[in-house]
């Protein structure tokens, strides 16, 4: 028998504060039961609920909301793209952390009905002289290589840098780009009731349980073993093909990947976005282990799973495609007119809560404060350069942040898909061919922790501009950005200030360049042993190459060519 735990005590253990618990109790008109506490704690975690960031993010020039990923257009091709972080999982298990990071972002793009065609990775670690950082770095690169290469999506560009600030908290941000015809995109909204939820993918195990709230807590250095998810690139590749086939069926209405807080957040958000409720039958969920508890099934972050909303009558067709690709299939619930989330296990009702309450985490406000360091650094004078410049240049060229990154990108298959026209190392942005056309997509990803630390507003503005310059340098016109905000503890007033300033900076640069933000990701609680990491927004940008013959790479072409410096 299972012990019953006092729900209020449990809620504290799971990271809900007393105000939030009271709110739940008040709005339910009763004590939540144990399962419900689990659901709220996951759905209201920073990771799912964006409770420290939503209001600020809304100030960005965002084009598309409430979907898995946003897009820009080149003619009638939708370029879907998004960035995501897997910082904390990678600190615990670099290979699997990075691998599952790739898996997650690929499914985000896939859930839009787009075929993933490129990956980018932005990596930050402590100095390589520290064996721990070296271990993390090598593990992360081989994880991206192992997973990305296997699923056949080329990793075409990225950035790699090293700084003390990331010693215990590396940053692993990955971006995926996909394409589809605009009218083939799938939504994650379920518009009608009495439609069926179809589960397609790998079985649900106990992996990654607590992952959602774990990602939002500072790394404690304790035993986090149970949170480790293992990636299965073979199933992911199958899921890519199956999803694209399924999404093309007429009877398929919506699609969402099971990411953070897995089945829970995908089902509840799909229903809520359509202004509906849902009923789920947990006994139908394909499970990998015995005796899984309802909360484990709901919160599991097992990888390579997708949830579709389908018209009744289309079950057999979806199942046929799933089986073709060695994937599990099950009908696990339906949408309802009543705006509740109800869970059943063998006909026994386990949970019954208003879905709006569950999905919309209360927003928290933290006062921001300008830190003293900001003024100190601003008042500093440029140091005089005394060492000879030749020496400085050679030291710079040797520095791991500047030296050739071949060691990294040669482990990535950057050519699979035969679209990569400008390959990594050849320019500051890579260019992908849109076949059947003479046009291309230019992509880049950039960050600069030191700049954004010294001046979060100007530093962040500068990153957007740097990304734009990278695109312009290959001959592309910037179209849109995706942002990954890597910050410290958002309850800290300095971090809050950094975050506000950074969002403002990104917003203003995007308005100036007329490049909308199509989506992004927030990662808080990135802390070193003693303090927050440098605030590190990372910007992924895509642009249009109108004629592939007119691209430019950075190598000098002929011995007698002149070199000009343009600008200040």
């Amino acid at each position: 028998m299972q012990k019953t735990i006092n729900p209020e005590v449990l809620s504290t253990q799971l990271g809900l504060n007393s105000y939030e618990y009271k709110l739940i109790k008040e709005r339910l008109g009763r004590e939540p039961n144990e399962l419900e506490v689990y659901l709220f704690s996951a759905q209201w975690s920073e990771h799912c609920g964006y409770k420290h960031s939503k209001t600020l993010i809304k100030t960005l020039p965002i084009t598309i909301e409430d979907e898995n990923a946003g897009y820009v257009k080149i003619d009638d091709t939708a370029i879907v793209f998004k960035v995501e972080s897997h910082n904390h999982p990678s600190a615990v298990e670099p290979y699997q952390g990075a691998a599952t990071g790739i898996g997650g972002i690929v499914r985000d793009v896939l859930a839009m009905g787009a075929r993933p065609i490129a990956l980018l990775d932005s990596l930050r670690f402590g100095p390589l002289t520290d064996p721990k950082s070296k271990h993390l770095f090598e593990g992360v690169v081989s994880g991206i290589s192992g997973y990305g290469n296997s699923i056949g999506v080329p990793t075409v560009a990225g950035e790699t840098s090293f700084d003390e600030t990331y010693s215990t908290n590396p940053l692993i941000n990955v971006m995926c780009v996909g394409t589809a015809k605009e009218d083939e995109l799938t939504s994650s909204k379920s518009a009608q009731h009495n439609k069926l939820f179809a589960y397609v993918g790998s079985k649900t195990g106990r992996d990654g349980i607590h992952g959602a709230s774990f990602a939002s807590k500072e790394l404690s250095g304790e035993d986090e073993r149970s949170s480790v998810q293992v990636g299965d690139p073979f199933s992911e590749k199958n899921l890519i093909e199956a999803t694209l086939e399924i999404a093309a069926l007429q009877g398929v209405l919506a699609c969402q990947d099971m990411g953070a807080a897995g089945f829970l957040s995908s089902s509840s958000e799909m229903a809520d976005k359509g202004n509906l409720g849902c009923i789920l039958n947990l006994e139908n969920v394909p499970v990998r282990e015995e005796n899984m508890q309802p909360w484990e099934i709901m919160l599991s972050e097992s990888q390579e799973r997708m949830l579709f909303l389908i018209e009744p009558g289309w079950e057999a067709e979806v199942e046929r495609i799933a089986k073709k690709y060695f994937l599990d299939f099950a009908i696990v619930g339906k949408t309802t007119y009543e705006k509740k989330m109800k869970l059943y296990m063998n006909e026994k009702e386990l949970c019954n809560v208003p879905i709006k309450l569950l999905v919309n985490a209360p927003q928290l406000y933290v006062k921001s404060e300008v830190p003293g360091y900001f003024y100190v650094h601003r008042a500093r004078k440029y140091p005089e350069i005394t060492t000879n410049s030749r020496r400085i240049l050679l030291d710079l060229l040797k520095h791991p942040n500047i030296t050739n990154k071949k060691w990294v990108f040669e482990q990535y298959d950057y050519k699979v898909g035969t679209n990569t026209v400008i390959t990594p190392g050849k320019a500051d942005a890579s260019v992908l061919w849109i076949k059947g056309n003479h046009k291309g997509i230019a992509v880049t990803i950039d960050g600069n922790g030191l700049y954004t630390f010294l001046d979060p507003y100007e530093g962040s503005r500068n990153i957007v501009y740097e990304a734009a310059r990278n695109l312009i340098a290959v001959g592309a016109k910037p179209l849109g950005i995706t942002d990954n905000m890597n910050f410290g503890n958002p309850e800290n007033s300095t971090v809050r200030w950094q975050f506000e300033q950074s969002i403002k900076g990104i917003g203003s640069a995007c308005r100036e360049l007329e490049t909308p933000v199509t989506g992004g990701n927030v990662s808080f609680y990135n802390e070193s042993e003693t303090e927050a990491i440098y605030p590190t927004p990372v910007i992924g940008m895509v642009g249009e190459v109108s004629d592939l013959k007119k691209t430019m790479t950075m190598d000098f072409k002929f011995p007698s060519d002149k070199v000009y410096l343009v600008g200040k």
């Binding site: 081989s142 290589s145 192992g146 290469n149 296997s150 699923i151 056949g152 299965d232 690139p233 073979f234 199933s235 590749k237 199958n238 073709k324 690709y325 060695f326 990108f409 040669e410 482990q411 990535y412 298959d413 950057y414 050519k415 699979v416 898909g417 035969t418 990569t420 026209v421 061919w433 076949k435 592939l548």
Partner: protein, 223 residues
């Protein structure tokens, strides 16, 4: 038109690239899902790269049990046309025993993605007869491309080496990048000609191989 069948296993990921390259080189193409269990009516069978069955266990090891592979073997024995396996396709062909040897882990133990030069070792074969160059620039992308062969089988690859690396990237025996079978109707190679079959993607060297195959098959048809 010369008709090519591209075999697709769960986990294959160069199938679409192969289609693009073969179409650009004038082949008519069709995909063949690995479950296909019938006579193969094609002039040319292409087994593409990727990670069939995740390359779990060993690269190519699980793919050899797919129903279509029986028919590929028959196709070879009955000399119905030409067969070519690239990267994972090469690994599958060695796993089934249709080509000798095995592909083991690169000596660096890492995945390697880059362009390499290979020398064409023999022009007296259907696959290479019309290649107009000695040295081809082709992309490689693999972590298990290190060709090994048992002493007792070395005789089998005598005069059957198709391509050799100019600079050995992975530890392969005798710098071997690709081999033919005894009857010269099967080619297996690690480098990816389909990734460099048009000028937009490089210098287009990969096309030489496909064009040679096409011309050979066309000659055979016309005679």
């Amino acid at each position: 038109m010369i008709k090519a069948g591209i075999i697709v296993f769960p986990g294959s990921n160069c199938d679409r690239d192969a289609e693009f390259a073969l179409n650009s080189c004038g082949f008519e193409t069709e995909y063949i899902w690995h479950d296909y269990d019938n006579i193969l009516k094609y002039d040319f069978i292409f087994i593409p790269g990727g990670f069939s069955y995740g390359d779990y266990l060993r690269a190519g090891a699980l793919a050899k049990f797919s129903p279509v592979m029986k028919h590929v073997e028959k196709f070879a024995i009955e000399k119905k046309g030409l067969i070519m396996g690239v990267c994972n396709g090469f690994q599958i062909l060695t796993e089934t025993g249709m080509l000798p040897g095995a592909l083991s882990k690169n000596t660096s133990l890492k995945f390697i993605c880059k362009d390499v030069d290979v020398n064409v070792e023999s022009f007296e074969t259907p696959f290479t007869k019309y290649i107009e160059k000695k040295k081809l620039r082709l992309p490689i992308a693999h972590s298990e491309g290190n060709f090994k062969i048992e002493k007792k089988d070395i005789e089998l690859i005598k005069d059957k080496v198709a391509f050799k690396y100019v600079e050995n990237p992975n530890g392969s025996y005798e710098d071997i990048a690709g081999i033919f079978n005894k009857n010269l109707n099967i080619l297996g190679m690690m480098p990816h000609p389909e990734r460099n079959s048009v000028k937009t993607l490089g210098n287009g060297d990969g096309a030489y191989i496909f064009l040679s195959i096409r011309r050979y098959l066309e000659d055979a048809k016309n005679n």
